[in-house]
């Protein structure tokens, strides 16, 4: 019997066009699923009849509880090199093969979106676009501010943070940086000054997050930290929603103290009735950081290679625990 393959998380409906699926479709029943699962029950019901599931990044989590409800599952293909939302041990205990892929770009996609969000927030690009489409022109659009000469505070100065530093330098911004393990020498090499976290928050006109989510970084910015930010300062988050305490952020935004330019959220997709959707002074994008053609081409092509290799009994690209 031909194996059944579910290509899930294809929210943008781009999976089919991003790669050549003919080799896989010759050997398996391949179904593309375009909607996010409302909860684990919905995921379990939708995926119970599949032998192989191909997911996108961390869109649908695979905790042990869900894995236990997928009796037919023999292989899970995830995209990207790391995945915090998959319980690799629970999969291994069942003998389920889990594979990863590489990316199609070097992190520039997400760093460039951080730059875009910073500029959009500083100049009210989204509000202007909405006003024009609604039949208006300048009415209701607040004046923006120039970034040249302003201070950009980078929380996290790894690969992506360093790229963002380069963009900030090109704009003529002053750069501050902090992360738990950042050294003055590394900050210096990126053209930034290493300062304590609180000093960065209180001195920056734009704060941009470039940290991975880990036990030590959950809720890195809470009410106290957000309270240190300058009035009217922009918080850019293209990393992970949980780095910022959501209730504290909502309160700061509701009070009009700061501006947020966000690509990532505690819960994705962002619930339809979420208060963020109604707050003024925000620029919101639907986790588009890595969503570029280059990545989808490599994600899907390598995921297909991984499934074909699995079907031939010689799996490649195992996901590390």
């Amino acid at each position: 019997m031909r194996p059944r393959v579910a290509v899930i998380d294809d929210w943008q409906r781009v999976a089919r066009a991003s790669a050549d699926w003919t080799a896989l479709e010759a050997r398996a029943e391949v179904l593309f699923l375009h909607d996010a699962f409302a909860d684990e029950d919905a995921a379990a019901a939708a995926l119970a009849s599949f032998d192989i599931v191909m997911s996108m990044r961390e869109r649908t989590p695979f905790p042990a509880s869900l894995i236990a409800r997928l009796p037919r599952l023999r292989m899970l293909s995830v995209t990207g090199a790391r995945n915090r939302s998959v319980d690799v041990a629970a999969l291994a205990a069942r003998g389920i093969v889990v594979t990863r892929t590489e990316a199609g770009e070097d992190g520039s996609a997400t760093a460039e979106l951080a730059l875009a969000l910073m500029l959009a927030a500083a100049r009210h690009v989204a509000a202007g676009d909405a006003a024009i489409r609604a039949g208006g022109f300048q009415a209701g659009i607040l004046p923006g501010f120039t970034l040249r000469g302003r201070t950009l505070g980078l929380i996290g100065l790894g690969r992506l943070g360093t790229m963002m530093a380069g963009y900030g330098r090109a704009l003529g911004m002053t750069l501050l940086a902090w992360s738990p393990n950042l050294t003055a020498a590394r900050a210096d090499a990126a053209g930034a000054t290493l300062v304590p976290k609180d000093a960065l928050l209180s001195a920056s006109d734009v704060v941009s997050l470039h940290m991975v989510l880990a036990p030590g970084t959950v809720g890195l910015l809470g009410a106290r930290e957000l309270g240190l930010m300058r009035p009217g300062a922009i918080l850019v988050n293209t990393s992970r929603g949980a780095l910022v305490e959501e209730t504290a952020l909502l309160a700061a935004l509701a009070a009009g103290r700061i501006v947020a330019a966000l690509d990532v959220y505690d819960r994705e997709p962002l619930p339809a009735d979420h208060p963020l959707r109604r707050l003024p002074g925000t620029v919101l994008t639907p986790h588009l950081g890595y969503c570029v053609q280059e990545n989808y081409a490599v994600f899907h092509r390598q995921a297909i290679e991984n499934v074909l290799a699995f079907l031939d009994g010689a799996p490649i690209r195992p996901l590390a625990a």
Partner: protein, 343 residues
């Protein structure tokens, strides 16, 4: 400024050498977007190959062999992408020592090879070439064309990988009893296929078909002793590699009538020499290493090999790397850290 500086504005396009002109045009076009291509004549002499490879970043190898001399002539070589399932035609040790990654195209031609295996088996069992040949000669001679029925017979599969498994499923569809032997690694269960020890496989199979990768361990595995252990009158099908079989011993067994016949697509020496006794034996069916050649497979394999080259040159790890140790050599020696093409 010097001529070199004035030409420096053009982006550097890495050189990819193709072993012969038989690579699918879609694969050639895919490579040509980012690379300069040099396509050699089929079975070019080693010195021509080495000369062409000297400035190459990648070799896409279908026909012929990539020898130590070719690899050592190419200090900038990052990958030898084999067009096909085997990497025996590449000097792996020389490649690894130089940090050159060697890839195959995995199972991209598995369906083509498996289907051709059955085409050969059926043609041999039912004397199809003889029937066609006689008809074209004006004959209508039914008496000599009594064949062998496959249903109920035992098929022995030596090597149960992507190809062997497909052959097994086809055989089960014909009502054959199927048994297999597989070396090393975890035993893989295929429904309806009995896993047996090698001596049993040889002694009890009516038809033996080879689907092993050629390596130092498997070379000559069907030697004179193994051929002598085969069931009298057994048929042999080889779409894997000629070097798996002791060809002179096979020829003797066929000439003596010890075996019922052989259908061979691969040979110890390719092209098969014009004076090979195999060409004159009536219980032998021959084809020129074409099992993997369907339009779909040639395109798929070509694209897979081209993609391996593009992955490697853009700094990613291709699928089906056969010498992961090459990456360790690179790290030690600080080689090839920067990608040559974007993407």
């Amino acid at each position: 400024m010097t001529a070199q500086a004035s030409g420096g504005a053009a982006p550097h396009r890495p050189l990819v050498v193709l072993s012969d002109p038989s690579i699918h045009p879609d694969a050639v076009a895919l490579l040509a977007r980012d690379c300069t291509l040099r396509i050699l004549d089929a079975y070019s002499p080693e010195d021509v190959f080495a000369q062409a490879a000297s400035g190459a970043s990648a070799i896409l190898a279908r026909l012929g062999t990539v020898t130590r001399r070719v690899i050592q002539a190419a200090p900038g070589l990052r990958i030898v992408a084999r067009h096909g399932v085997g990497v025996d035609a590449v000097d792996l040790a020389a490649a690894t020592a130089q940090g050159v990654v060697v890839t195959s195209t995995g199972s991209a031609n598995a369906a083509a090879v498996a289907e051709y295996t059955f085409a050969l088996l059926l043609a041999l069992a039912r004397k199809l070439p003889q029937a066609d040949h006689a008809m074209r000669g004006g004959a209508w001679s039914r008496e000599p064309l009594v064949g062998l029925e496959l249903e109920g017979r035992v098929l022995g599969i030596l090597g149960l990988g992507a190809i062997g498994e497909r052959v097994a499923r086809q055989a089960l569809g014909f009502g054959m009893r199927v048994q297999a032997w597989r070396s090393g690694r975890a035993q893989r269960q295929v429904a309806g296929v009995a896993m047996v020890e090698l001596p049993d496989l040889l002694a009890t199979s009516d038809v033996l078909t080879l689907h092993l990768r050629l390596s130092a361990e498997t070379a000559g595995c069907l030697d004179a002793a193994a051929i002598a252990a085969l069931k009298p009158g057994a048929l042999l099908v080889n779409t894997a590699r000629g070097e798996l079989v002791d060809e002179p011993a096979l020829i003797r067994a066929l000439a003596a009538g010890r075996l019922g016949g052989a259908a061979l697509d691969t040979f110890a020496e390719e092209p098969l020499p014009g004076d090979s006794p195999l060409r004159r034996m009536h219980n032998v069916l021959l084809s020129p290493h074409v099992a993997g050649q369907t339009e779909a497979a040639v395109r798929r394999v070509g694209l897979a090999a081209a993609q391996a080259v593009l992955d490697e040159l853009s700094g990613r790890r291709p699928a089906n790397v056969h010498n992961a140790a090459a990456y360790a050599v690179r790290r030690e020696r600080g080689l090839f850290a920067a990608p040559l093409i974007a993407g």
